[in-house]
């Protein structure tokens, strides 16, 4: 998880306004989902992949790490389309499902690439403070921002606890493994509320009034980038319509 967040903070598009990247990534995502898989998914996938490996500068190994787990779901979720239930025999291979399964897998992979395009270029710390401008209640935005800030600390705590347990041979049997994982959860719970209490005390000493607003760096929206993004999405739709 930290690698995706790290990439988002270090990639060449880091200083761009989140809206620019949202128009490109979610515009392509809309195409991936709404256009027919052939040729829509292929075009969207190719454009997103070219953007990721080109201007964004993502190395293939990092992309593969990000895609591994979701691809397992795509593979497992596509399998049932190759099986028919009912009739004689009750369960049989359905060759007519090959096309839909391939289309589904293609669409999901293309959409996943679009999601990763946004995720590796836009840190959540840039997106969250701007959500208020699109109508999300400030209290909800602030809770989400706190979750974001605390979760890295808690993940580090969990990792440290796990390492210490492993060094004490805590995972040698099922019983000890369950006890260790429960202790990890307990340590995280205690750590989370300890952090919250310390934040509460620290903020109270600084005259906390109930608002956790932070300064958001001003980043002008680039009309050229926006125009290119809209043009690219339009071109994908046009090509898919002509080829389809």
């Amino acid at each position: 998880m930290q690698s995706l967040d790290t990439l988002a903070h270090t990639n060449p598009w880091r200083r761009r306004h989140p809206a620019e990247k949202a128009v490109l990534a979610f515009g392509l995502l809309g195409c991936a989902v709404a256009l027919p898989p052939w040729p829509g998914a292929l075009l969207v996938g190719a454009v997103a992949l070219a953007a990721l490996l080109g201007p964004v500068g993502l190395v293939p190994a990092a992309l593969w790490r990000a895609m591994r787990a979701p691809l397992v779901f795509v593979a497992v979720g596509s399998l049932p389309l190759l099986v028919a239930v009912g009739g004689d025999p009750l369960v049989r291979f359905a060759p007519e499902g090959l096309g839909p399964a391939a289309g589904l897998a293609g669409r999901a992979v293309a959409a996943l690439l679009c999601l990763i395009l946004f995720a590796v270029t836009t840190p959540l710390s840039d997106t969250l403070p701007r959500l208020e401008r699109v109508g999300v209640p400030p209290a909800v935005v602030e809770v989400a921002a706190l979750v974001y800030r605390l979760l890295f600390l808690l993940l580090a705590t969990a990792s440290t606890v796990r390492e210490a347990q492993a060094r004490r041979l805590g995972f040698r049997t099922w019983a000890t493994t369950y006890r260790c994982v429960a202790a990890q959860a307990g340590a995280i719970f205690v750590g989370a509320f300890d952090r919250a209490r310390r934040l509460e005390q620290g903020l109270a000493l600084r005259g906390y009034t109930g608002s956790l607003r932070v300064q958001v760096p001003s980043r002008p929206v680039s009309p050229a980038f926006l125009a290119c993004s809209v043009g690219l999405v339009g071109a994908v739709v046009g090509c898919a319509t002509v080829l389809g």
Binding site: G77, V85, V143, A158, W174, T177
Partner: protein
């Protein structure tokens, strides 16, 4: 297991977003009211959300020989209540999509409905029912966590079956197909999560009773501290 980005057809993705929205909005209103009444609770809610996220990242052993992750919805619902979990769960799912590429933005509504609505309400309902019937804390926690896990994945199976019905037997056949595939891992995992949640709650009672009391876990008569 989250429904991956782009897996659902657009109409289904939109429909599940509409179905989940009232629960999430209700949760958001509850949180806004709570924060307005007690600004400090914002920090507690942030801690609760981060805890839910990290809980779902813990590795638990599975009887299939591999390891997997708990959903955390059972424990979350017992600790923080279903309306709050609807919002926190949706925030966590959004973070999982953008930080881990697990789940997605177009499938957020469907995932939120199964993991942030159905799972927590099942857990909470089972927990309160078991306690009201005189069941022990451990029994209530185990059943709440295990059944919440199963309810979450059953809902996911139904969502997938509605999107991709079987050519011969329709939606029912598709439910059997998707359910059978997920059952191989999910039934053992539900038992694992139930056992783990019992251990966690027992541990928290020993080391974090003030926090649990502040959260109201042991306050109401239906869920009193009395261990059977």
């Amino acid at each position: 297991m989250h429904i991956a980005e782009g897996y659902l057809p657009p109409l289904h993705a939109a429909a599940w977003t509409v179905v989940a929205a009232p629960f999430v909005v209700h949760g958001a209103r509850a949180v806004v009211r709570q924060v307005r009444a007690d600004p400090d609770s914002k920090l507690l809610l942030g801690a609760a959300g981060a805890f839910s996220f990290v809980l779902s990242a813990l590795k638990i052993p599975s009887v299939t020989g591999s390891s997997s992750h708990p959903t955390g919805v059972g424990l979350g619902a017992i600790l923080f209540r279903p309306p709050v979990m609807a919002l926190l769960g949706t925030i966590v799912l959004t973070f999982q999509a953008l930080l881990l590429a697990h789940g997605g933005i177009t499938t957020l509504g469907a995932n939120a409905f199964s993991m942030a609505v159905v799972g927590p309400w099942t857990a909470y309902g089972v927990f309160v029912l078991v306690r009201a019937l005189g069941g022990g804390l451990s029994v209530g926690v185990f059943l709440a966590a295990a059944l919440a896990n199963l309810a979450t994945y059953s809902t996911t199976s139904v969502q997938l079956a509605l999107a991709y019905p079987d050519a011969a037997s329709g939606v029912l056949g598709a439910i059997v197909k998707f359910g059978s595939i997920f059952a191989i891992t999910q039934i053992p995992l539900a038992v694992s999560e139930g056992l783990l949640t019992v251990l966690v709650v027992r541990l928290l009672r020993q080391v974090s009773l003030p926090e649990l009391t502040r959260l109201g876990v042991f306050r109401r008569p239906a869920v009193s501290v009395k261990e059977a």
